[in-house]
């Protein structure tokens, strides 16, 4: 290989309490399309932020075009020729396409004025070269998201980028737009531009990328030719499961209900959200833990949110205890007996300024009040009960919830839902980011609740937790159900095999 364009050597980055990157290296040569993959918390975004000058590494060195470089700020990286394309387009929506393409380096005519005619003509040429058929005089916001992304790409190339970093560029694109994007990416690579491509969609990686680097828990676990790594091995590297044990199983397919099966309490049919879910169907029975398995971006959290009405759907039905839910709002779902523990505890769970007590009783307030006046006595009884039962460690119920540890915050949220006496509990990553002791306690609690007859839906990126916790696993990939495992088939191997299947269409 010729001299690499980008050469990251032993980079480490520490945040308070976390080693986000631990001695990570990455080399990308000219014209190479390099896949960067890993699950949540693997360190992908930290690495990208170091490459683009947002963070500085604590140790290690980034070499760019053979020279060691330190970018003080994102602008420096851009000026040096490292462009980044994010999911959301970072352009000026109200300006014309041509203006966006030439922003900051507009062709000048006489008297130093912008030569609009020339700018539009050159913009048209650039766009045509990438096969983007849009009028450069249109304002950018008039274009579809895919076309906007193309313009962002064209701009990146037009500013003489040597490296283009693409972070999940296809997550909001139509299939047709994805094809155009791929063509542009190949064109860029043909011109010797190095590309770092981040995506969770395995099909895309195999179509586009030459080499792959897998990160896990801040460490590089693999670098090599992508073609020599089959899907199963790639997934087991990402999830950190031993590949030697994995044998290919045929999928059991959708299991028939066992004869003695209980009636499902939740029936989900054909749940669809544009770009995110494509006809997700599954059942959940009382007294059973149903796992939702899948890689990051497979639509697990979206499914849970759509079920409780926190996310608008384009189609599909949700039946709870035989009753169809017509009003799809979280309040209606709660009345129907559902409760959902969201994945992002901080953004969607706790009310940071309120006390432990108020966070616990939040959803139950109307039940713990009389004529709109809250009853402190009733609250204290409930709070005492659940703090004891879930062993919530706080100085007092009046302590601010934001001062608790992650594990105890999670228990506070569990208590918030349990004091509503739900019949269905959806748990999205209930043990993420909490310490080992609290994790075991939460897992034991889930088991106990299911044994008491509660229906539980468990989402977890931790395969071991999923396999041990769930009685049945619905496997999702790219927003669709690709398999359902029951009984003895609930194994890590089977989940990975289902995830590694080739996509049937596309």
């Amino acid at each position: 290989m010729t001299e690499p364009v980008l050469d990251v050597r032993g980079v480490s980055k520490r945040f308070p309490g976390v080693l986000a990157l631990d001695d990570v290296s990455l080399t990308v040569g000219p014209g190479e399309v390099h896949a960067l993959v890993g699950e949540n918390g693997a360190g992908k975004s930290t690495l990208i932020k170091i490459l683009t000058g947002v963070y500085r590494p604590d140790a290690g060195q980034v070499h760019y075009l053979g020279q060691p470089v330190t970018f003080g700020r994102p602008l420096d990286a851009q000026a040096a020729g490292i462009s980044t394309i994010y999911q959301e387009v970072n352009l000026v929506p109200l300006m014309s396409v041509a203006r966006n393409l030439f922003l900051g380096r507009e062709p000048r005519g006489r008297f130093g004025l912008i030569d609009v005619a020339r700018m539009n003509r050159e913009a048209g040429e650039v766009l045509a070269r990438f096969g983007i058929a849009v009028d450069p005089k249109l304002p950018l916001h008039a274009l579809g998201l895919g076309a906007q992304q193309m313009v962002a790409l064209a701009r990146a190339v037009a500013v003489d980028a040597k490296v283009v970093i693409m972070d999940e560029p296809t997550s909001s694109l139509e299939p047709r737009e994805v094809e155009t994007l791929f063509r542009v990416v190949r064109e860029l690579s043909g011109r010797g531009i190095a590309i770092v491509y981040v995506s969770h969609r395995l099909d895309e990686l195999y179509r586009l990328c030459d080499r792959v680097t897998v990160l896990r828990d801040g460490r590089r676990v693999h670098t090599g030719e992508l073609a020599q790594l089959d899907r199963l091995s790639l997934i087991s590297l990402m999830l950190g499961r031993d590949v030697a044990d994995v044998r290919r199983h045929g999928l059991t397919g959708f299991s028939a209900h066992d004869a003695g099966d209980v009636e499902p309490i939740l029936r989900v049919r054909g749940l669809s959200i544009r770009h995110q879910l494509h006809g997700v169907s599954f059942d959940v029975r009382p007294g059973e833990v149903t796992g939702l398995g899948g890689l990051l971006g497979s639509g697990r959290s979206e499914t849970a949110k759509a079920v409780v009405g926190a996310l608008g759907t384009d189609g599909g039905t949700v039946d709870m205890s035989g009753q169809r839910l017509r009003r799809r709002t979280p309040a209606a779902a709660i009345r129907a007996g559902m409760a959902m523990l969201p994945e992002d505890r901080k953004a969607e769970g706790i009310i940071p300024d309120l006390s432990v007590r108020e966070n616990i009783v939040l959803a139950a307030l109307p039940r713990l009040s009389r004529f709109g006046t809250v009853s402190r006595a009733k609250q204290d009884k409930v709070v005492e009960l659940f703090m004891k039962r879930l062993r919530i460690k706080a100085a007092s119920p009046e302590q601010r919830v934001s001062e608790l540890s992650g594990g105890n915050q999670q228990k506070v949220l569990l208590a918030r839902w349990l004091c509503l006496n739900p019949r269905l509990l959806l748990l999205d990553e209930p043990t993420r980011g909490i310490d080992v002791g609290a994790k075991a306690e939460v897992q034991a609690l889930i088991d106990e609740l299911a044994a008491e007859g509660l229906a539980v839906v468990l989402i977890s990126s931790d395969l071991e937790e999923l396999v041990e916790g769930a009685d049945r696993i619905v496997v999702l990939r790219a927003g669709a159900v690709v398999g359902e495992l029951t009984g003895d088939d609930v194994t890590e191997d089977n989940i990975m095999a289902a995830l590694a299947q080739e996509a049937v269409h596309d």
Binding site: E348, G349, E358, L362, E403, L404, S405, Q409, G433
Partner: protein, 322 residues
Amino acid sequence: MTEMTAIPAPAVDRAKPARWLQDYGVYAAVAVLVLFNVAFTDNFLQTATLRTQLVQVAPVVIAALGMAMVIGSEGIDLSVGSVMALAAAVLPLYIGYGFWPAVLIALLVGALVGVVNGTLVAVVGLQPIVATLALLVGGRGLALVFADGQLKGITNPTLLELGTGELLGVPYTVLIAGVLAVVIGFAVRGTVYGRQLVAVGGNRAASALAGLPVTRVLIGTYALCAVLAALAGVLATARLGASDPSAIGNLMELSAITAVVVGGTPLSGGSIRVLGTVAGALLMQLVRATLINHDLPDSSAQLIQAAIILAAVYIARERRTR
């Protein structure tokens, strides 16, 4: 990385003086000013002086109470001054039907504006500052249309009595402001609505997921704020003895926001300090009165008020930097 929210003990200790200032700074400042005036201002403790101060501050307190609730919901309401003007403009139109119908209609007009504000924020999704800016401009314009752009004298004896009369030596306006402060204080602390309001202000996404009626709470809050502003407009009109929609409530939105911020309610929502708001309004009133009593020009009063606002915001920032 949420697990890092557990704060180490030393950080708490270092934040202690700032926390104390935030919790009690405004009361301490009021106390210092009162003591200063008792010592150095002639006749400060006389009933007439005190009464003038309280009567002047009462409309600000009432408007600020509503503002505190809106700010607690992570919003802001720039239209309170215009709502006061609207209420003032509506009064003479219906005073012919008697005192109560006229006052009720004035309050109803306020509620209507509040519902529009709340709907723009909670349903349409506009930023509160933009949504209420529209009514800041439009509301006063509408008030001038209602009033034909004219100042109208009030002759209704009940309305005039409301402005100048008193009960057991306490002016009605002051009494009303005091009762409202107690009622709002209870509403925020002890009712389902109040607790839901604070939760929505603290984390809207989490509140929605917990099944709280977020839209209803927000619209209700903006409506309540506007009703309080309309009441302030009625009282100001009664005291003046005339409906003057071009002058009543001018810059009231800023006085109300100042009282709330100085009183220690964070602009980022999730916490409402009712007593602090009352103290904030009193503090700003006292600062001005003190300086005027000592023959300093109004301009210096404004500069000192600006300094107090900056100090309040700075102290509030201290707590948030965790």
